[in-house]
C-alpha cells in the first residue's frame, strides 16, 4: 500500500480532519484526511484504491476498537468527520460512475420511533467502510423501506429501534421487504434488541455495534 494511503488511514482512525484542526494535539499543524486524500488523487491513485486502502482501513480500525470498548463515541465521530472530509474529494468520481461503492445500505429507524443516534453512528461507519448509504431517517414505514429497496436493487437493509414498543414494526418491515423482494438481507440493531429477537422476526443478522453491521455487509458481499 502506498505510504500516503497509510497516512490517510491513520488520519481517519485518529480523527485528524485537516491541517487546521487542533485535534489530535500531537498531530497539530500536520496534514489531515482532507489534504492527504486530495494529494492521493493528484498523485494519480485511483478513487477506489484510496477508498479501499485508505478510508476503509481507517474506519475499520476505529470501528473494531469501538466494538471492543477500546475507544468511545467521540473517537468514532471524529473519525467519521475525517472520513467525510476525505470523501468530499472522492464523491464526484462515485457520482460519475468512474468509481464504485462496495454496495448499498438502506438504513432507518422503524415506524413509531424517533431516535437516531445509534442509526447515525451505524450509517457513518458503514459509509466509511466503502458503502453507499441511503439514510431514510426516523419513523420510517415498512412501505418506505420497501420503496427504497426497489429503488436500490441489491441493497442490504438496516433497521434501528430504541423502544421495545416499536420493535414490532421491525417484524412488519422484515416481512414486507422479504416477501416483496426475496433475497434482500436485513440486519437489525438498537439498545433493546437481542439475537433471539432478530431470529424470531426473520432478520438475517443482529449487531450490537456499528462494526458488526459493516462486517455483516462485507461477509454478505464476499
Amino acid at each position: 500500500m502506498a505510504e500516503i494511503l497509510e497516512q490517510l488511514a491513520m488520519c481517519i482512525e485518529r480523527g485528524k480532519v485537516n491541517a487546521s484542526s487542533p485535534y489530535p494535539p500531537d498531530l497539530k499543524g500536520q496534514e489531515g484526511a482532507d489534504e492527504l486524500c486530495k494529494k492521493a488523487l493528484d498523485d494519480g491513485l485511483a478513487p477506489n484504491d484510496i477508498l479501499a486502502n485508505g478510508l476503509v482501513v481507517g474506519m475499520n480500525a476505529i470501528g473494531r476498537k469501538f466494538s471492543k470498548n477500546e475507544v468511545f463515541v467521540p473517537d468514532v465521530l471524529m473519525a467519521a468527520k475525517a472520513m467525510t472530509a476525505a470523501m468530499e474529494h472522492l464523491r464526484p468520481f462515485f457520482d460519475s460512475g468512474e468509481a464504485t461503492f462496495k454496495g448499498t445500505f438502506v438504513v432507518g429507524t422503524v415506524q413509531g420511533d424517533l431516535h437516531d443516534i445509534g442509526k447515525n453512528l451505524v450509517a457513518m461507519v458503514v459509509e466509511g467502510g466503502g458503502y453507499k448509504v441511503v439514510d431514510l431517517g426516523v419513523d420510517v414505514s415498512p412501505e418506505k423501506f420497501l420503496d427504497a429497496v426497489k429503488g436500490n436493487p441489491g441493497a442490504t437493509v438496516g433497521l434501528s429501534a430504541l423502544l421495545t414498543t416499536t420493535m414490532v414494526n421491525m417484524e412488519k418491515t422484515v416481512s414486507l421487504v422479504k416477501e416483496a423482494v426475496p433475497g434482500t438481507k436485513v440486519i437489525v440493531g438498537g439498545a433493546p434488541l437481542t439475537q433471539e429477537f432478530a431470529d424470531k422476526i426473520g432478520a438475517d443478522a443482529y449487531s450490537p455495534d456499528p462494526q458488526g453491521a459493516l462486517d455483516f455487509l462485507a461477509a454478505a458481499s464476499a
Binding site: 468511545f72 471524529m78 445509534g118
Partner: protein, 397 residues
C-alpha cells in the same frame, strides 16, 4: 422522577402530602417507628433497616393507559396515583432551579395528527410522535452552534436570578417536617449542555473548540455551586440528585478523559459542599453504560449510581464487586426482565439479593416501566421485591 423534568408546582403539592406520620406498617421491632426519611438515611449509610425504602422510577406515559385494559383501576391515572395503588414510596425535592432559565417562549411550530414539532424554552426544536411513546423526543435543531449562540445562555445561567429561589420559602416548613427523604437537585454539567449543543456537537466540542467546551461546563458549574451554597444552609437534605443522561449502550458520549479533566472537578466541589452541609448521598441520573465513568464519579465524591441501567451495559453487582462500599446503588433491576416472564423477574431479583443485603442499595426498575410490560408481570415484580427485600409501602391491589 427525572430531575430534568422537575416541576415546582407538582413538588409543592407532593410536599403537602409529605407531612404525614411514621411508617409503621411494614416493619417489626423498634425500627417499625422509623419514618421513611429515617429508613432512607439508615439504608444509605449501610446500617440495618427492617423496612427498606421502596423506590421506583415511574412509567412511560402510555404504560398506565395500556394497563387499563389489563385491570388497572380507573382512578390510577398518573405517577402519584400509581405509586399509591402499587404501594411505592417516594421522596421530595427542594424546589430550586440550578439550570438555565428560559431564553425564549415554548412554541408549537408544526402539528398534524401524528406529529408535533415545537421549539422549547431553551430554543431546542424537537419532534414528538403524538400517537406513539414520547419517552424521548427527536431533536431537530439545537440553539448552541458556536461561541456567539452560546452567549445568551451565560445570562440564563445567572445564579442571582431570583426566579431560581422563588418557591423555596413557601416549601421550607413542609421540607423541614417531611417524613420522606428530602433531596436537592444537583444540576447538570454535561446533560443540559448536550441538549443545547446536540449529541454529535457536544461529543466533539472538546476536540474542536476545547475552550468553548470548558467555558460552557464552568458556567454551568458556577451556577450550580453558587445556588447550592445559598440553598443548603436553609434546609437539611438527605441526598443530592443531578441529571446527566450522558451515556448510551456504547458508553459515554463525552470521553472519560475529558470528563475527568473538565467535569470531575465540579463534581468534587459539589460533593465537598454537600458534605459540609451534612449530605453524603450524591448521585446523578445517567442512563446507559456508565461503567467507563464510574471512576470519575467515585474519585470526585459522586458516590451513588442511579438508575444503573442493566440492558444499557451497567451492572450493579459488578459495581459493588469492584468498588465495594465506595458506591451506593439506586435502581439496578433490569427492566427487560419485566417483559419476559415471572421466572426472569425472579432470577433478576435473586441476582441482586446478596448485594442489596450488603446495604446502601435501593433496588428498583432501572428506568421507566415500558408500555409493553404486562401489568401481571409488574405486580409480580413488586410482590416478590417486597417479599425478598423487605421494602415499605402498602399496595392497594
Amino acid at each position: 422522577m427525572d430531575v430534568e423534568e422537575f416541576e415546582a408546582d407538582a413538588l409543592i403539592a407532593k410536599l403537602k402530602a409529605a407531612r404525614t406520620g411514621r411508617n409503621d406498617t411494614n416493619g417489626g421491632g423498634t425500627q417499625a417507628a422509623l419514618t421513611l426519611r429515617e429508613r432512607f438515611r439508615r439504608a444509605m449509610f449501610f446500617q440495618e433497616v427492617a423496612v427498606r425504602p421502596n423506590f421506583e422510577f415511574g412509567y412511560w406515559e402510555t404504560t398506565l393507559k395500556r394497563w387499563r385494559d389489563q385491570g388497572l383501576p380507573e382512578h390510577v391515572v398518573d405517577e402519584a396515583s400509581a405509586y399509591e395503588y402499587f404501594g411505592i414510596e417516594n421522596w421530595v425535592m427542594v424546589p430550586v432551579n440550578l439550570g438555565p432559565t428560559a431564553v425564549c417562549e415554548h412554541k408549537v411550530l408544526e402539528e398534524d395528527e401524528e406529529h408535533q414539532v415545537y421549539r422549547d424554552s431553551m430554543g431546542c426544536v424537537a419532534e414528538i410522535n403524538k400517537k406513539g411513546d414520547k419517552s424521548i423526543p427527536h431533536f431537530l435543531d439545537f440553539p448552541i452552534k458556536d461561541r456567539a449562540s452560546w452567549e445568551p445562555f451565560k445570562k440564563a445561567l445567572d445564579p442571582d436570578d431570583p426566579s431560581r429561589y422563588e418557591r423555596i420559602e413557601e416549601a421550607l416548613p413542609d421540607l423541614a417536617a417531611a417524613t420522606m427523604p428530602v433531596g436537592v437537585p444537583g444540576g447538570s454539567l454535561a446533560g443540559t449542555p448536550r441538549n443545547l449543543c446536540g449529541f454529535e456537537r457536544i461529543a466533539v466540542l472538546p476536540y474542536e473548540d476545547p475552550d468553548l467546551f470548558r467555558e460552557i461546563v464552568d458556567t454551568f458549574g458556577h451556577c450550580i455551586v453558587t445556588v447550592l451554597e445559598r440553598v443548603l444552609p436553609l434546609i437539611q437534605v438527605d441526598f443530592c440528585m443531578g441529571w446527566e443522561d450522558i451515556c448510551f449502550n456504547g458508553g459515554p458520549i463525552i470521553h472519560p478523559a475529558v470528563y475527568s479533566e473538565v467535569i470531575g472537578p465540579w463534581y468534587r466541589r459539589i460533593a465537598d459542599l454537600l458534605v459540609r452541609h451534612g449530605c453524603c448521598v450524591y448521585t446523578t441520573d445517567t442512563d446507559g453504560n456508565i461503567m467507563p465513568l464510574v471512576d470519575v464519579f467515585v474519585d470526585n465524591g459522586l458516590n451513588t449510581m442511579f438508575p444503573v441501567e442493566v440492558h444499557g451495559g451497567s451492572d450493579p453487582c459488578a459495581l459493588r464487586e469492584k468498588y465495594g462500599r465506595r458506591v451506593r446503588l439506586w435502581g439496578g433491576f433490569d427492566k427487560m426482565a419485566l417483559l419476559k416472564s415471572r421466572q426472569a423477574i425472579d432470577d433478576e431479583l435473586d441476582r441482586l439479593l446478596p448485594y442489596v443485603e450488603q446495604g446502601a442499595f435501593l433496588p428498583g426498575v432501572d428506568h421507566r416501566v415500558q408500555a409493553d410490560v404486562p401489568l401481571d408481570h409488574y405486580k409480580h415484580y413488586l410482590d416478590r421485591k417486597r417479599e425478598l427485600f423487605h421494602v415499605g409501602g402498602e399496595p392497594k391491589y
